[in-house]
Symmetry: C2
Subunit: 338 residues, 2 copies
DNA sequence: CTGTTAGCGCCTTCAC
DNA sequence: GTGAAGGCGCTAACAG
């Protein structure tokens, strides 16, 4: 790349068109009080120079930028990707621009501060509103619209979009119970996590309703990772009385559980049934394809955008918590007990 | 959201810490000429207020932002998503921040101008360098580093990362030829597209080398979409002498071709073999799983970042065009001819 | 209809 | 070691 060419500013355009910067600004913002002829001349110069107003400078002065920001600690994991897909489409459909941000320089212990910093950096200057994916913080200090997707906590000061975790877990359990399973293991997420708690409640209530005991030995606390899924499953399957089915509270840990079962020489679903939660794209292509709960992550992204734009455009919010319905996707990782 | 709280500025921090904004700025940028005690006090206030310097304001003044931008017309299609995954990881590993941007307001006829505008908007202010995904333009007017992933054209003024399209197509064809197919249909992308041209060349050269004729009836120009794949396949399969195999130049059109074959009552791979190109995640979970050419899109993203950072940090570039190798992934959509 | 003026929040000289 | 002043590129009053 030649690094010589200076990128043209509004001054260059003004000079070339023989008008003041104000006039150029008016053209840029489609104000109607410019003579058609002047308007066209400025437009021509803009095209000729390949000029576009600097996002930074523009953001500093104008209250509205028509940009929506998305913050995620990482764009390399399935949940975030699915949210981004949904958000991307909804944002452009609404005529806004999207800027999705990640950054380095954060550790497990500093995420909350990192989240707040990202919010402060963007909101009110670059973006008109923000979507935060799986935020840890209860509260964000910002004067501008902000919506969360699947926050860690339940009582947040900001509006949030979540899956109907409870109903999804119930559906998964009813599927397993319907297949005749009586001893069903559970691999959860960290207890601090709202989604994990709701899913576990679904697990327990389903057992209660079926008048089955809740056996603490069958309930493992993992952390939604592949590794924790594998380790928890290993423990469950080596119990004196192992379960005949496992409900893992997310797909990644279900994959780990599948791995652990295999390592113990168990066939899936013949020897052990496994059901997940999330329906990430990968779950369709594992062997066997995973029966799981679809939480339509894209829809969550779309809903977040809808709420955010309502907020930005000052329309009243009907609710602070949108629950997106879940549905069971039956594939081949669970079968009727022999 | 309470929309009352103003987001704190450097002035608020300065006031609260009892120093000047200059001092706060020095702390923010880790300059060493601040008394340790002052430094700490300012830091404390920053945390307490949840302050972070506005990206817009900072971008306007400082030359380096440690942000890398990515521009794509859309984040809701598999190729872009895969690039983003690779880029995201590489960028954070390198200690930079990533901002990925899309916007509405562009049509088929205005993409080139749109691309240029995005570049002008970001580069040199918000971002230190830019990655453009599948750019149409030959040239970008920018004084700052820019790298393309899979550009439309071959001779670009900017460095680019591409897959080894030719070798990939050859591999796909040699697979089909090895399975005994003699009449192989081809569904390409638009002729203006560099990747489409290279893949078609691979198709033709493979036939030549096998001393098979190149039958124009068997060569269809599509546009890499599902619909065009379906339509092209329909035409191929209703030929007087239909092919026994189809090589589609990308996975999406291969999916369309599968659809068309089914609609005609053909079984895959028993009646017709189909091979794709891309190896997007979906291709593993179609029925049957698609035999395709893996162009390791993530690696392309990673390479783009590597080059870009070299450029940003003024290291010399060894080459202007990085070719990422491709490899055939054999699944179940192609079989030996009966 | 158009231009002049005054900042937005920050970083960079240059004083002290 | 610290602060005051100026300006980055742009938009929003206010004049004319």
């Amino acid at each position: 790349m030649p690094r010589t060419k200076r990128v043209p500013t509004i001054h260059d355009v003004a000079a070339a068109a023989g008008v003041s910067v104000t006039t150029v600004s008016r053209v840029l913002n489609n104000k109607d009080d410019v003579a058609p002829e002047t308007f066209q001349r400025v437009l021509d110069v803009i095209h000729e120079l390949g000029y576009a107003s600097s996002l930074a400078a523009r953001s500093m002065r104008s209250r509205r930028t028509r940009m929506i920001g998305l913050i995620t600690p990482n764009m390399d994991y399935p949940f975030a990707i699915e949210v981004i897909k949904g958000v991307s489409r909804a944002v452009t459909d609404a005529g806004y621009d999207l800027i999705a941000c990640t950054s380095a320089y954060k550790t497990e212990s500093t995420v909350e501060r990192w989240e707040q910093q990202q919010v402060a950096r963007l909101n009110g200057t670059i973006t008109d509103g923000l979507i935060v994916v799986v935020p840890r913080a209860h509260v964000f200090r910002t004067a501008f619209p902000l919506v969360a997707v699947d926050p860690h906590h339940r009582d947040t000061s900001y509006p949030a979009v979540v899956a109907d975790n409870y109903a999804g877990a119930r559906a998964a359990m009813e599927h397993l119970l319907g297949l005749g399973h009586l001893r069903i293991g559970y691999i959860g997420g960290r207890a601090g996590l709202q989604s994990a708690r709701r899913r576990q409640k679904g697990y327990e209530d389903a057992l209660c309703e079926a008048e089955l005991p809740i056996d603490p030995d069958l309930i493992m606390e993992g952390d939604y990772t592949y590794e924790s899924g594998r380790e928890c499953a290993r423990q469950l399957l080596t119990l004196a009385q192992p379960p005949t089915a496992i409900f893992a509270a997310n797909d990644e840990s279900a994959f780990g559980a599948i791995d652990a079962a295999r390592a113990l020489g168990l066939r899936i679903p013949d020897d052990i049934s496994i059901v997940g939660f999330d329906n990430i794209p990968e779950s369709a292509s594992t062997v066997p394809p995973l029966t799981t709960v679809d939480q339509t992550i894209r829809v969550m992204g779309r809903e977040a955008v809808r709420i955010l734009i309502d907020l930005i455009e000052n329309r009243p919010l009907e609710t602070n918590l949108v629950q997106v319905p879940t549905s069971l996707v039956v594939r081949s990782s669970a079968r009727r007990i022999r």
